[in-house]
Every structure is written in C-alpha cells, then in structure tokens.
C-alpha cells in the first residue's frame, strides 16, 4: 500500500471526527455525565427534609434494597406494561390497516392529506391537557356520565376514577388516540418504500389481498415495525403525564395505575437523589433488556 493513499484516508477520518464533535459534546454534557452521575448518586443517602439537607452519606446498596423491599417495584412495572400493551395492541392494528389503505394506490382514497392530518392531530395536544380533558369528561357529574345515565345505560353515575379497569382503560385509550396517527405515518412511509413490482407480480400470480399483506407487506416492513415497537416500548416505560394528571398523582385506585416514572416522581418531593437514582438505574436496565428481547424476537427468523 502506498503512503499517499493511506494519508488520504487519515485526512478523511479527521474530518469525520470534526463533524462528530457537536454530537459528542451534546451527548457527553446532556447524556453521559447525567447517566454516570445518576449511577453514582444511587449509592448515597441524599435528600431534603423541608429546607434541611440530609446526606450525602455513602449507603452502598441500601437504596436498591429499599426499592425492592415489598415487591412494589414489580407491581408498578406490571401496571406500566399492562397500560402500555392495552394501548399498543389497538394502536399497531389500526395503524397497519390505515397504513395499508393509505399506501394502496388501487383504492384511490380521496382527501388523503386531510385524514392524515386529522389522525395526527391528537398528538399535537399536550398530554397533560388531553388528560385533564378526559378527567373532566369522565367525572362523576361529567358529560359522559350524564349521557350514559340519560340513555339508561347506567342507573346512577359510574365512578370511572374509582375502578381499576376504567382508569387503566382510559389511560390506554388516551395513549392509543395520541399515538396511532404517528405510527400510521411511520408504517405508511415503510409501505410506500416497498417495490410496487412485487405487488404487481403477486397480483399476476393470483394472490389474495390478505396473502399480499401477510407474505409481502409485513415481512418487508419488519425493520420499520421493529423501530415502531422499540420506540413505543421505551415511550411506554416512560409513561407519566397521562396517568399522573388523570389520577392527580396518586395512581389510584390502590396505585393500580401508578407507573414507574410516577413512582420516581414520588421520590422527587423530597429531592431523594439516592432512591431516585437507584430507580433510574433499574429503569435503564429494564429498558435495555426489553429492547434487546424485542430486537431478538423480530430478527429470529432471519438466519
């Protein structure tokens, strides 16, 4: 190999590093340092009692012990996953159908831009405002109860906020409404990227539309599906504002709608860096493990 050629490579590398600087600076300042700091803090007893600061005192793994005592963490993880899955199943199904319809040229759907905008609109409302709206709509004396008792569905007002199923259902419904538009756009982009020659070939071979969907669209959509699932999963694990506002921060009834981040928020009242840090570290591992599992399942058939 000649010296001149390898010199050029080195020079190109240098440019690559220079272009990477802005990203690396932002990453180090806003991601890496807080990450390391959080892990470090999780080993200390450190919180505020009113205006009095307690700690930092080195506590070893005591914060983790406190966190796992009584199995509450598992319960909140369960709540989070239940509410995410309840919302994600209709979300992915509706998005797949809408995406398939929007991207199918033979359907000749009219006013597509209008519908694409409308289904995306709920996402533009602040989650907290959306949640507040639902809280008002489903209050004991709210319009939904008035309507249902007026129609004779219920004899007396149904207390939506006092039943486990209805609170979780409302949270899932809100997440579904807010995110199915976004998912539809992503899946549609993926579907439009599939070579139309494949569809034409399938049509010539006499494939039915359900065969086309399961044998051509879905397999070729896999990379986008994995992306949608992982981002939605991470978003689901970080679920906070919707249930927080809907239940006034309590996660009631009996904390059956308390998510992991709401639990984290509970410890921020006393600025408890120790327990908060430990919880964040656990969350980091849970997220990594789940993302890895999703990734593996979706790639299982490839080899």
């Amino acid at each position: 190999m000649k010296n001149g050629k390898s010199g050029t490579i080195v020079r190109y590398n240098r440019w690559a590093y220079i272009f990477l600087i802005p990203f690396m600076v932002v990453f180090i300042v806003f991601q890496l340092i807080p990450l390391v700091n959080t892990i470090y803090n999780s080993f200390f007893e450190h919180y505020m009692s009113g205006l009095k600061e307690i700690g930092p005192n080195f506590a070893g793994l005591a914060n983790y012990g406190e966190l796992f005592k009584g199995g509450d963490l598992l319960k909140y993880f369960g709540n989070t996953m239940i509410m995410w899955i309840l919302g994600f199943i209709p979300q992915i199904l509706v998005s797949l159908i809408l995406g398939a319809w929007f991207s199918d040229p033979s359907l000749r759907l009219k006013a597509q831009p209008f519908f694409k905008t409308v289904i995306y609109l709920p996402n533009l409302i602040m989650a907290s405002a959306f949640s507040m709206l639902f809280f008002t709509l489903f209050a004991d004396t709210g319009p939904i109860n008035q309507l249902l008792t007026g129609l004779g569905v219920f004899k007396e007002a149904y207390s939506f906020m006092s039943h486990v199923g209805s609170v979780r259902g409302l949270v899932a419904a809100m997440n579904f409404l807010m995110w199915f538009g976004n998912t539809t756009i992503l899946l549609m982009a993926g579907m439009l990227g599939i070579d139309t020659a494949l569809y034409e070939a399938a049509e010539v071979d006499g494939a039915t539309s359900s065969q086309v969907f399961t044998k051509i669209t879905l397999p070729l959509l896999k990379p986008i599906l994995i992306y949608v699932m992982i981002t939605s999963l991470i978003g689901g694990l970080q679920m906070f504002d919707v249930p927080q506002i809907l239940t006034n921060g309590s996660g009631d009834p009996m904390r059956s709608s308390m998510t992991l981040i709401m639990f984290l928020n509970k410890h921020l009242f006393s600025k408890n860096y120790g327990i908060g840090g430990a919880l964040s570290v656990c969350l980091f591992f849970i997220t990594s493990i789940l993302s890895f599992i999703v990734f593996r399942i979706n790639n299982a058939g490839d080899n």
Binding site: G50, A139, T141, S159, S162, V164, S250, P253
Partner: protein
C-alpha cells in the same frame, strides 16, 4: 408590636419564627363555619333559621343523625368526605409527627369510620376537593346540604357571580356546626432585598391595621378581617350582612371562632393531610380494606419524608 394588638393571636403565631421574630402579617381571619343550603333545610325540617338549624347540627352525633334525614329526602349531606376532614384534623389532639415518628389521631380515625359509613349510605361522595364534582353542590342541581368553610369560601369559591348558583340567590345559611375549625389564610411578607421597604411597610400597615380599609374589605368582599374590636362591633351591625347568606350577618360567629383558634402544627401537616385523604379514598370506594389503605398512607408518607419512622 402594639400596632398589631387588634389582630387575632393565631395569625401572628403562624408567622413567628423560632427566634420569636414576626415574619409577616395578615388582613384576614379564617375561622370556619357550617354553610347550609336554606332550601334543603326547609324541605327537611320546615325551617331555615340559623339558630334552629344550628341546634340540629351542634354535635357530630346530631350531625350524622341529620345526614340520614337529609339523605332520605334525596340530598347529599356534604359534597365529599374531604369536606369534614379539616374539621376533624384541626381539632386533633395529636400532631401527625412527634419525635420523627408518624402517628394518627383518634379523632381522625373517627373521621375515617364515620365517612365510610356516610359513603356507604350514599350521604356523600369521594370526589376531590375543588373538583367539578365537589363544585356541583354550589348549584341547586347538586342537591348538597352543606359545606364547611371560612368567609373566603363564601365569597370566592361558591360562584356568587354566577346567577344560577345557590349563592347568587342568597340561598345559604351559616351556623357554627359540630366543631370549630379554620382554613387557610393569606399573609403579606416583604421580600428580602426589596428596593421599597418603606412603601411595603406602609401597604402592610394599612392593609392589616387600618380599620376603615379593613371594614371596607368586609363590606365589599364579604371577607372576615384580622381586627378584633372592629369585627366585634360589626357583628351587630346589619349593614355587614352577607348577600350569599341571604342577609345573615355571620361576623359574630367568625369573631368567636377566630378567638378560639389555637395553632397546633407540625411541618409535616400538609403532606400528611393530603396523603391521608388520598389513601382513605381507596377504603371509601371499596377498593381496599382499612388496613390496606392505612399501609398505603404509611408508604406515601415515607416517600415524601424519608427521615420519618412509620409503622410497617
């Protein structure tokens, strides 16, 4: 300090720091009364006279007996369980926290048992204070017999500005109720490092000691002000009648109540009161046993105040 001699003692105690210095002053006194719906009183007992209605509600036993009568006519006794919480918690003999240990007063446990019975008998609901459901009773459709509150609740929170409300029609009456209590208050304090100390001192002095300004607040805003002699005088003066109370003058009741307020507080009260009501809602709604709801309360307190000892 002589300038403040007309103010109620508790308003000064609140603002006195541990070194004995006064940090702020208030123009308001916030003793509470029981505010009842006159029309419902007439429907149930045939009278809306404050003395006669008051006699039916002057102890908790009578209050809960009345609740059954009110419910039989199709009304709620109080809007939510949390309405009466403050009355019990203000009269608690034990503080929430002593020697860094959480404890629950017997009176507050009595509130739990009585409230559960009320919810089960459909005499009240489990809505949150300030929610739409709570507000509903301020209108005739809400069919709610009474609220517990100080003067500011009558003026600022009962929707007297809305022609549809009970308050706009002067449909409320006031009586002392089963127990005296107080609720909130507003204090003025100067910010450290202010450029206008003289101006601020003047505003504070005028707002909290000037009798003309203070009685004016009462006349225009139906508030109760922090001036003992002026309020005792005004209590017998019909020109101070409250419109939302149908022309009743409750100042005498307030003045008597304000004199009796003794502050017994710990730094943990707000957090404990909030978490206790939240946790007990689960018991009232039938989503948990009393023990489960209590352990949820302990858990929530430990999260807020990690330094406290709580029962496991």
């Amino acid at each position: 300090m002589d300038e403040l001699s007309n103010q109620y003692g508790y308003t000064k105690d609140v603002m006195t720091a541990s070194d004995g210095s006064l940090k702020g002053v208030s123009w308001q006194g916030c003793p509470g009364v029981l505010i009842y719906n006159r029309e419902i009183a007439k429907d149930v007992w045939g009278t809306d006279d404050p003395a006669e209605v008051g006699a039916k509600l002057d102890s908790w036993d009578k209050y809960y007996a009345a609740a059954a009568e009110v419910q039989a006519k199709g009304y709620l006794m109080q809007s939510t369980t949390n309405d009466s919480f403050r009355v019990y918690s203000n009269n608690a003999s034990k503080l929430w926290v002593e020697n860094d240990t959480l404890q629950i007063d017997d009176g507050i446990m009595e509130w739990v048992d009585k409230s559960k019975a009320m919810v089960d008998a459909k005499q009240t609901t489990t809505a949150d204070l300030w929610s739409d459901d709570w507000n509903k009773g301020m209108y005739p459709d809400g069919k709610t017999f009474c609220y517990f509150g100080p003067a500011w609740l009558i003026n600022f929170s009962m929707h007297a500005d809305d022609a549809e409300s009970v308050a706009a029609k002067g449909g409320w009456g006031a009586c002392e109720g089963p127990m005296g209590f107080y609720w909130g208050g507003t204090w003025i304090a100067a910010a450290k490092g202010t450029d206008n100390p003289a101006l601020i001192a003047d505003i504070m002095r005028k707002m909290t000691t000037d009798e003309t300004i203070m009685t004016d607040i009462v006349k225009k805003d139906n508030d109760f002000v922090n001036n003992k002699p002026a309020m005792e005088k005004a209590a017998t003066d019909d020109s101070y009648a409250f419109a939302p109370l149908g022309g009743q003058n409750p100042l005498g009741m307030f003045a008597a109540g304000a004199d009796k307020i003794v502050l017994k507080q710990s730094a943990y009260d707000q957090g404990c009161n909030e978490e206790f009501q939240k946790a007990m809602k689960n018991y009232f709604d039938g989503n948990a046993s009393k023990e489960e709801a209590l352990s949820q309360f302990y858990k929530a307190v430990k999260e807020k105040y990690p330094e406290l000892n709580v029962p496991e």
